[in-house]
């Protein structure tokens, strides 16, 4: 494949993929940045008791794990769809 075509295809492809990666990362990063801020500025909210836990313990110690699973399965579905689209465009 010539350089020009390679450049065009790789840019088009990476743009789509990067957009998906960045949107998932944005949600993840805002949680990582946000939770310590809630703990700092809204300590009463963080301390609210929920099911025997404090709210912030429940989020960090329990709910965080399934949350990352949801984010990653969303990403994997998205990225496989993008791959399929690219293959379809290039091989038609």
């Amino acid at each position: 494949m010539d350089q020009h075509k390679a450049a065009e295809l790789s840019r088009r492809m990476m743009k789509k993929q990067l957009k998906l990666s960045l949107s998932v990362a944005a949600i993840f990063i805002s949680i990582l940045v946000g939770l310590p801020l809630v703990n700092l500025y809204l300590p009463e909210l963080a301390k609210t008791q929920v099911a025997g836990f404090t709210l912030t313990w429940l989020i960090l110690g329990v709910l965080f794990f399934p949350l990352t699973w949801i984010l990653s399965s969303w990403f994997v579905k998205g990225t496989e769809r993008i791959d399929a689209e690219i293959v379809a465009e290039e091989t038609k």
Partner: protein, 657 residues
């Protein structure tokens, strides 16, 4: 005895499975990357098995027991770091088709020199990561077997784990350990979950200590007056007994002992006013003791009575303080209180109060006075560091293609989350059911020791045996992964590409075996040196170095066309080495090998370097690459296609197939 059976079972099981798998591992590709034929489920199990180390199995629960809420960032960071790996690195790395990170470094930039730098980091991070595994092995052996066989020592555990794994890896390479590690993941999950449910049914629930702590913010766990084994100064600072300032404490010495030092705790700040005279008395003997005694010989049966006293700070704040003992040699003591106070039960020494334990910004992050900075730096180190561990990254090449590499990562996150969610449960239950571990600085062994609190001793031994086997599985699988990646670096990158490029595939296979033995022996020797360091702290170092070296290389290398070899190498070297130097300096200060006064801010930044190390590395990569923009590889677009195009388009290329 029962514990020993379980540990033997896991050890021989590992050897047997390794030999069986080796018979099926013949080709060279099998040796290095398991022939790329491992399916998603097994590969995910193997990655998880390899990743869940001694630090995860024992250290995290211990840290949570010791420090409370803040330490929850460890399990979360260890598991969630994979999300970054998934979003930015897993797919491209596999599609690029290289065997190792040094292959990536050279292949992406056509720079053999870069390979050498990249190899050196495989070894740096690898050796830093093996040390805590060795420490864990030595500690478990000592903790469980010393009571049965009085002669057992720290280095026995290192010798057992080290030689079993070295043997396995030298024989079977990657394929031999893939199946072993996959099985060990399931052993570890079983060992951390099932015993918890049983222990918890008898001793109390996960949330009980949390709701207790909220209801009684000023409370401190009380300990029964049983015998406590203190450690000596070989493991300083884990030889300290910081008595609670909440009440009076009686310390009875069960044998002749030596106290290296007695001091005021918390350490007085400049301008503090207090009167500690009379805070310590020897009851019924004429032993001369005060709050500043050094190298004090304390005869058997001495009873020291310690009372808290008021401290008035410069700005007029009133607080309580008490004393801290440091033990010279291992010692046996008994801690009680006057009968009028909590019916003779003492407040647990070294234990944080309820409110500090359950609230954010507690003892772990606020120790240097910059809790928010410390928290964010820890998060960055864990999240970026996971994506920069060479022994984990090498596993992505065992996937058949980029798509399965991503699916594997998703499964890894599920498997790791399913494991890590149990670590705070043990830490929390440990605070409630076994606060005596605070006094002996033994929180690292919460998971191993908690089952012994059950009233049925047989059940306790069986469950303790299962958790000990889980801990053994943890060191063994992580160490085998490290050994494969480091031996691979020697055989494939140093021998095969640098020393003797004309070597045949069989030559390299042999080189791998010799390298495995050599690296195994060096790791065991390093393990002997680190008995006095915290497991989780040492793992933190490896993460911080990985975060500031490999993570930026892989992130920018996969997504930014403008990156040049010079830029990437400079960023990686400076970021990684600066973090390494900061960490090693902190460690030397702590161990008093180096006397250097650093400000609390500086101290926080040195102890947790990721918050400046990662940006430093990335900035250097960008700036130097811009300056050397002419050196951007001419075929960078082809590279990008190789990294990102779906396999169906036929742009990926395997280095060795």
């Amino acid at each position: 005895m029962i514990e020993l059976l379980f540990v033997m079972l896991i050890t021989f099981g590992t050897i047997g499975l390794g030999i069986w798998a080796t018979k099926k591992s013949q080709s060279v590709a099998d040796f290095f990357v398991a022939g790329r034929s491992v399916n998603v489920f097994w590969n995910a199990s193997a990655i998880s098995g390899e990743y869940l180390s001694a630090a995860s199995f024992m250290g995290v629960a211990g840290l949570i027991m010791k420090n409370g809420y803040d330490a929850l960032w460890y399990p979360v960071g260890y598991a969630a770091g994979y999300l970054f790996l998934l979003l930015f690195i897993a797919g491209p790395l596999r599609r690029f088709g290289a065997y190792t990170i040094p292959d990536f470094a050279e292949g992406r930039f056509h720079s053999p020199a870069f390979r050498k730098i990249a190899v050196s980091f495989v070894l740096f991070i690898g050796f830093f990561y093996t040390m805590p595994q060795m420490k864990g092995a030595g500690t478990v052996v000592l903790g469980i077997f010393a009571p049965i066989f009085p002669g057992w020592q720290y280095w026995y555990g290192i010798a057992i784990v080290g030689s079993v794994i070295t043997f396995n890896v030298a024989l079977g390479g990657m394929k031999g350990i893939t199946i072993v590690q996959a099985m060990q993941y399931w052993v570890k999950v079983f060992a951390i979950s099932v015993p918890f449910f049983i222990v918890s049914a008898f001793l109390g629930s996960y949330t009980k200590p949390i709701s207790n702590a909220v209801a009684e913010p000023k409370g401190i766990p009380l300990i029964p007056g049983s015998v406590i084994s203190m450690k000596g100064k070989a493991v300083a600072p884990n030889n300290a007994l910081a008595l609670s300032s909440a009440g009076e404490t009686l310390v009875k010495f069960e044998e002749d002992s030596v106290l290296t030092a007695i001091s005021v705790n918390p350490k007085p700040k400049p301008g503090d006013v207090f009167d500690a005279s009379g805070s310590i008395n020897a009851v019924g003997t004429v032993l001369a003791v005060n709050e500043k005694s050094k190298n004090l010989s304390v005869p058997k049966d001495t009873l020291l009575d310690v009372k808290p006293f008021d401290v008035l700070s410069k700005d007029g704040k009133k607080s309580k303080a008490s004393l801290k003992f440091e033990f010279e040699k291992p010692a046996k003591i008994r801690i009680t209180a006057p009968l009028s106070q909590n019916e003779g039960k003492a407040y647990a020494p070294n234990a944080p109060g309820n409110e500090k334990w359950v609230s954010p910004y507690g003892p772990l992050t606020s120790k240097n006075g910059y809790p928010v900075l410390y928290t964010y730096s820890l998060i960055i180190a864990l999240v970026c560091g996971t994506a920069g561990l060479p022994h984990i990254l090498v596993r992505f090449y065992t996937n058949p293609d980029g798509k399965s590499a991503k699916r594997t990562t998703l499964w890894v996150m599920v498997m790791l989350g399913g494991f890590y969610v149990f670590t705070p449960m043990w830490g929390s239950l440990g605070r409630f059911a076994m606060p005596i571990l605070y006094a002996s600085n033994g929180t690292d062994s919460t998971i191993i020791k908690l089952p012994s609190m059950l009233s049925d001793p047989t059940l306790g031994h069986i469950l303790g045996g299962i958790t000990a086997a889980g801990a053994f599985a943890a060191f063994m699988s992580t160490f085998s992964g490290l050994l494969v990646s480091m031996s691979g670096a020697f055989a494939h990158d140093i021998y095969g590409k640098i020393i003797k490029p004309q070597s045949s595939a069989d030559d390299r296979k042999n080189a791998f075996k010799y390298a495995a033995v050599g690296v195994g022996v060096i790791s065991m020797l390093l393990g002997l040196l680190v008995e006095s360091f915290d497991i989780a702290t040492m793992v933190g170092w490896a993460f911080a170095i990985g975060a500031a070296s490999y993570f930026p290389l892989l992130l920018l290398g996969s997504w930014w066309r403008g990156l040049t070899a010079k830029g990437a190498a400079t960023g990686m070297l400076v970021g990684g080495l600066a973090s390494l130097v900061a960490i090693v300096t902190t460690m030397m200060i702590d161990k008093k090998y180096l006397s250097l006064e650093v400000s609390p801010l500086m101290r926080s930044l040195m102890e947790q370097p990721a918050i400046w190390g990662v940006p430093l590395s990335i900035t250097l990569m960008v700036v130097i690459s811009k300056m050397t923009a002419k050196a951007v590889p001419h075929d960078v677009d082809t590279m990008m296609l190789r990294l990102h195009a779906p396999e169906e388009l036929g742009h990926s290329k395997d280095y060795i197939s």
